[in-house]
C-alpha cells in the first residue's frame, strides 16, 4: 500500500461515524536494526476533524510564526488527534476504521527532527 492511499482517507469509528480525515501518518525509526537506519514503523494516524489538507503541521508543534498563518492553521486543524496503529481495525479503500473504544491521543510532535 502507498502512503498516498492512506492520506485523505475518511476516519470512521466502529459504529461507522466519520470522525475526521487522515491527514498524516506517524512513523518511528524504532524497528529492527539495519546497517544504516533501523526499520521505520507506522505507529499511528493523525486525524483532523475539520480539514483534509495538511500543510505545515503547526497544530503539532509549538511554532507560532508567521502569526496569521499559524493561527489559521491551528484553527483549520483544531481538534486534530493521533490514533495509535494498534487501535486501527481495518483499512479500506479511502476509509480507515478504528476499533471500538479507541484512544484519541495528543497529536503534538515530541520534538522536531531538525532540533536533533
Amino acid at each position: 500500500m502507498l502512503l498516498s492511499d492512506l492520506l485523505d482517507s475518511d476516519a470512521v469509528d466502529a459504529d461507522g461515524r466519520r470522525v475526521g480525515a487522515v491527514i498524516d501518518v506517524r512513523l518511528e525509526v524504532s524497528g529492527a536494526p539495519r546497517q544504516l537506519l533501523a526499520d521505520t514503523v507506522v505507529t499511528g494516524l493523525l486525524v483532523s476533524p475539520h480539514s483534509r489538507f495538511s500543510t505545515w503541521g503547526y497544530e503539532r508543534r509549538d511554532e507560532d510564526g508567521p502569526l496569521l498563518i499559524a493561527r489559521f492553521q491551528r484553527w483549520l486543524h483544531r481538534g486534530t488527534f493521533l490514533v495509535a496503529w494498534d487501535d486501527v481495525e481495518r483499512v479500506d479503500e479511502g476509509r480507515v476504521v478504528f476499533r471500538r473504544g479507541y484512544t484519541a491521543r495528543d497529536a503534538a510532535l515530541p520534538r522536531a527532527p531538525r532540533e536533533r
Binding site: 502512503l3 498516498s4 492512506l6 544504516l36 496503529w85 481495518r90 484519541a104 491521543r105 515530541p110
Partner: protein, 138 residues
C-alpha cells in the same frame, strides 16, 4: 468516548522509542541526496509494507513498515489519483536511507540507483557524443 473531537486531546502519546517522523510533514517532497551529497530525486510517495486493504487487523499484529521511497511518475499519481504501472515506478529501498532530516540522506552512491537512469542515459547518449563531453573541463 465523546462526540466532541476537541475533547479528545487528553491522553498523551507514549514516549517514542526512536526518531519520530510525520510522513507527509517530514518525508514527502523532501530532496534525496546520495552519500556524496549529490541530489538524486525527491520523495514523491512511500511504500508501506504490512497493510492489506479490507482485511481485519488482528490486535497485537506487527506494525506496518516503510519499505521504499517512490519517485518518477508517482507525484502526478499522488496529486491526481491512481497508481502508476509497476514497471514505471521507481523505488529506492528504505534500507538504503541513512538519515532523515531537512533532506533524506542515502548511504549509497546515486549512480547505482534506478532513480538516476534518465540522467545517466542523457550523459551517455547525448552529452557523451559532444566533442569533449566525456571528460571534465580542463
Amino acid at each position: 468516548m465523546t462526540e466532541n473531537p476537541d475533547a479528545f486531546q487528553t491522553d498523551a502519546a507514549p514516549p517514542p522509542a526512536g526518531q519520530v517522523l510525520d510522513a507527509h510533514l517530514h518525508v514527502l517532497d523532501r530532496q534525496v541526496l546520495d552519500r556524496d551529497d549529490v541530489p538524486v530525486t525527491t520523495a514523491d510517495d512511500l511504500e508501506l509494507d504490512g497493510i492489506e486493504v479490507g482485511a481485519p487487523i488482528e490486535p497485537g499484529s506487527p506494525r506496518p513498515t516503510v519499505s521504499a521511497i517512490l519517485t518518477g511518475p508517482q507525484l502526478v499519481m499522488r496529486l491526481f489519483g491512481g497508481h502508476a504501472p509497476a514497471a514505471r515506478t521507481i523505488r529506492i529501498p528504505w534500507r538504503l536511507v541513512s538519515e532523515v532530516g531537512t533532506v533524506i540522506h542515502l548511504g549509497v552512491a546515486g549512480d547505482a540507483l534506478d532513480a538516476t537512469w534518465a540522467e545517466r542515459w542523457v550523459s551517455r547518449h547525448l552529452i557523451g557524443r559532444i566533442p569533449g563531453g566525456r571528460h571534465a573541463p580542463e
